[in-house]
Subunit: 489 residues, 2 copies
């Protein structure tokens, strides 16, 4: 079964092709959105929830999120940020305090009007983000320069009513982390947002998710509601569209003014704080699928994978079962994340396809004949292919194999973006590139806000602005700025 | 300042006593509830939220929860249970499906009636617990005996409208884990609930929280809405009241019938599954405070503590700062969880009181004179007292000191319950014992449901039933059952 799936269709006679089973997933080239849905469902990542736009994250999908959380949380804590938890329910009146913020979020709010069997005196909003409630407490907690910087992160669920929901990418409820900080100076806040963008988010995407990205600043039109600057990391998905992975915002003093958050400086003056906020969400799971997935399913980067190696018993033979369990224990002892699949009451082929769908980087298959030969079949999900290996060499070889696979995914992701990005000089060309599933780079001086509006008519957006040297520009209109233009999720 | 706090009031003249600063907290003996509130606030564990009954869990309080999560999660995963995530919002109609369950929860529900600027066709309930939505998916996921047991856990927030809120103990929103499982047989479900109660919850309370408890079964009156049996662990707080720490429920086939959750057995028959659910919440933080707290603040068990050792620089002297940092690094390298307090722009006495309030097990104080002597002051929060120690001996001594402190807290907790528990034979005596801040044990045969109702008039409840030999009884009316009776939070 495995061999059939891997062989090139051109090698098979039309008769055999017709007889072969239908592909497990709709091929990406036929219908990318359908492929995505198929994969999410068949790899058991998530189901739709009963309230429109909500989702059930199934154990295998949630395992990806747990590993993302662990890797991100360690990086966030290294910046000196501490976790806390703020209420889900926010009085509706809070949303009137910051004008841009309320305008940005009003259409998406879910409102609780009844509690404990009675109509509430003031309705409560289910948080769409926590700037409002966190700033209320920041204004109480910050008194003196000694209280700064105040660096807080929260892991939580948020609700934004979603009209065109899509699992992981746009859901009415999603899980995320949201960082909120207050600083004594503009420079410190600006540098902190940039530090998060590079050393928390950028490093996580590169070294754990194995995802390439472009780092830039959002245009005024695309900025977070209430921010003075939004930094973004944008990645190219398998169909060439862009996806905003994470954002960090400089909030300036907008919220500090709205909540009157002041500190007594060393010089004895009352000063407004400077703030940042930054977030990343379960959308990253969708991005992972659309970046590394192929027509056989997901491919999980080894550093992220909750299961790096699955050891499969081909048959329920006592000797085979003993061998897979022993091998599983040895691989675990070597520090690998291992699952032993001994559910031999399910056909082997079905289990193999299942692990392939789920994208576990390495499968080790052990049957009665392997025991005789002292070998096991090593199947590599990321580059593809399988070959027999001496069973005793596996503990030694696997760490290097996993490192190689991790690096390969990042290279493939980078090469995709590079090969599909074109420099253009007109709006027409930019639209054409984006329509063909690529990214266009166009000087911001040639585009501007009018050009940005013109692109929008073709469902094409400016994903971010980058400086001529590829760095993040200090201002939208800095000379040499280039707009990265694409269709986006 | 430290010395003054620790010295016995009897050693101080009336004049000096009058001059001494007011105690940091209201003493427990004066007003236990006020002491609790003072401690939560001054140790910076939590604040009240703006929507009635909600709370903000501050970083130090959330750090306790993070450590609880880590320890519990590892134990939960060892049972083969996997984490997943189900939606916050549940269609209101779902709550009509299981009659007892809806009756139990209806008065506490928070209801979203508007989303995205429009009135919803069907209102959505903010989950008060997830039996309803999880069982909806279980009925889809369970097809065959191969899918069983299905063992799922969720870490999430839930909302139950609370009329008499109290931080951590009863809040409109709280954080928890809720386990939900489906099994092929009654025996397997029963044994799984008991296993969770003993090997996850019981072990966690004993070995991490250092909290004594009585393990028993709830009476019919106190059972979870929809369960056929509820197991509970009940602990005695510092004022002698009881607090229900965690519960595990046997759900029988009640939800399986409501959701028609059936599996194809090995014998080819369609059978209803047997289920359990079990939960533990941020209420455990309140229990921790009320169990181990004293008039100087919290005392955190070392195995739970996010900061086991704080190394304080008494003055901002270069040599002192270098020493505390070096010592901090050495202690961290030895595997301890260490915080270096070098905020010497805040007076030392205030910082020392602060760490005492927060209950960090060990403080190591280093000043210029200590450097000369090669010593540091070792202050132990749990037994109390401080003494100078050779600075180079600390890395060697601290692990044993922390183990000793962990054991001491458990012993104190057990001794409190044992010394305040009395065997009685009449309802009048039971009420008297409970009123005096103790627990009464009374044969269930002498109490019964009528006696239980009579106790309720005095705000006294049956916390649980235990068998004559102290084990958990198989039935409410098993011969020899003893009711443990107390006032409770």
């Amino acid at each position: 079964m495995q061999a059939k799936k891997n062989s090139h269709p051109g090698n098979v006679s039309p008769y055999h092709r017709a007889m072969a089973k239908a592909p497990v997933l709709t091929p990406r080239a036929d219908d990318f959105p359908r492929w995505y849905q198929d994969l999410i469902s068949k790899a058991e990542l998530a189901d739709n929830g009963p309230v429109r736009g909500t989702m059930v994250i199934r154990p295998y999908g949630y395992g990806l999120w747990e590993r993302m959380q662990a890797e991100m949380d360690a990086r966030i804590k290294e910046t000196g940020t501490q976790n806390a938890y703020f209420p889900l329910l926010i009085p509706q009146s809070y949303f009137a305090r910051e004008a841009d913020h309320v305008e940005g979020f009003a259409p998406e709010l879910a409102v609780v009007t009844h509690g404990g069997g009675k109509e509430l005196e003031e309705p409560a909003v289910v948080r769409p983000t926590s700037e409002m409630i966190i700033n209320d407490y920041f204004s109480k907690w910050v008194q003196s320069y000694r209280d700064l910087p105040l660096l807080i992160n929260q892991w939580a669920n948020v609700v934004r009513w979603e009209l065109r929901p899509r699992l992981f990418l746009r859901t009415t409820e999603f899980l995320w982390q949201e960082g909120h900080t207050a600083h004594a100076t503009y420079e410190e806040a600006r540098d902190f947002a940039a530090h998060i963008q590079r050393h928390v988010y950028g490093d996580f995407l590169t070294s754990v998710l194995a995802m390439d990205f472009v780092s830039g600043r959002k245009t005024v039109k695309e900025r977070f509601a209430g921010a003075v600057n939004t930094l973004t990391l944008e990645s190219m998905m398998g169909d060439g569209k862009a996806l905003q992975m994470v954002t960090s915002h400089e909030l300036g003093q907008n919220f500090a003014k709205a909540f009157n958050t002041r500190y007594l400086s060393r010089e004895g003056r009352q000063e407004l704080v400077w703030q940042t906020s930054w977030g990343s969400t379960t959308r990253m799971i969708g991005a992972l699928v659309m970046t590394h997935g192929d027509d056989n399913g997901l491919r999980v980067p080894p550093r992220l994978a909750q299961i790096q190696v699955v050891v499969l018993a081909i048959k329920g033979d006592e000797a085979v079962l003993a061998k897979v369990r022993e091998l599983g224990d040895r691989l675990k002892a070597a520090g690998l994340r291992v699952h032993v699949d001994d559910r031999t009451d399910t056909p082997f082929g079905r289990r193999a396809v299942d692990w392939e769908l789920k994208g576990v980087p390495v499968r080790i298959e052990v049957g009665p004949r392997d025991l005789e030969n002292g070998t096991a079949m090593l199947a590599r999900r990321i580059p593809g292919g399988k070959e027999p290996m001496p069973i005793d060499s596996l503990v030694r070889l696997l760490p290097a194999i996993l490192d190689e696979d991790q690096a390969l995914l990042l290279t493939q992701s980078r090469e995709r973006r590079e090969s599909r990005t074109s420099d253009v000089s007109t709006i027409g060309e930019a639209v054409e590139v984006a329509r063909d599933g690529g990214w266009a780079r166009i000087p911001w001086a040639d585009l501007g806000e009018e050009g940005e509006a013109a692109l929008a008519e073709h469902a094409v957006t400016v994903r971010c602005l980058v400086a001529a040297d590829g760095s993040v520009p200090d201002a939208d209109d800095a000379p040499g700025n280039v707009a990265v233009v694409a269709r986006a999720y």
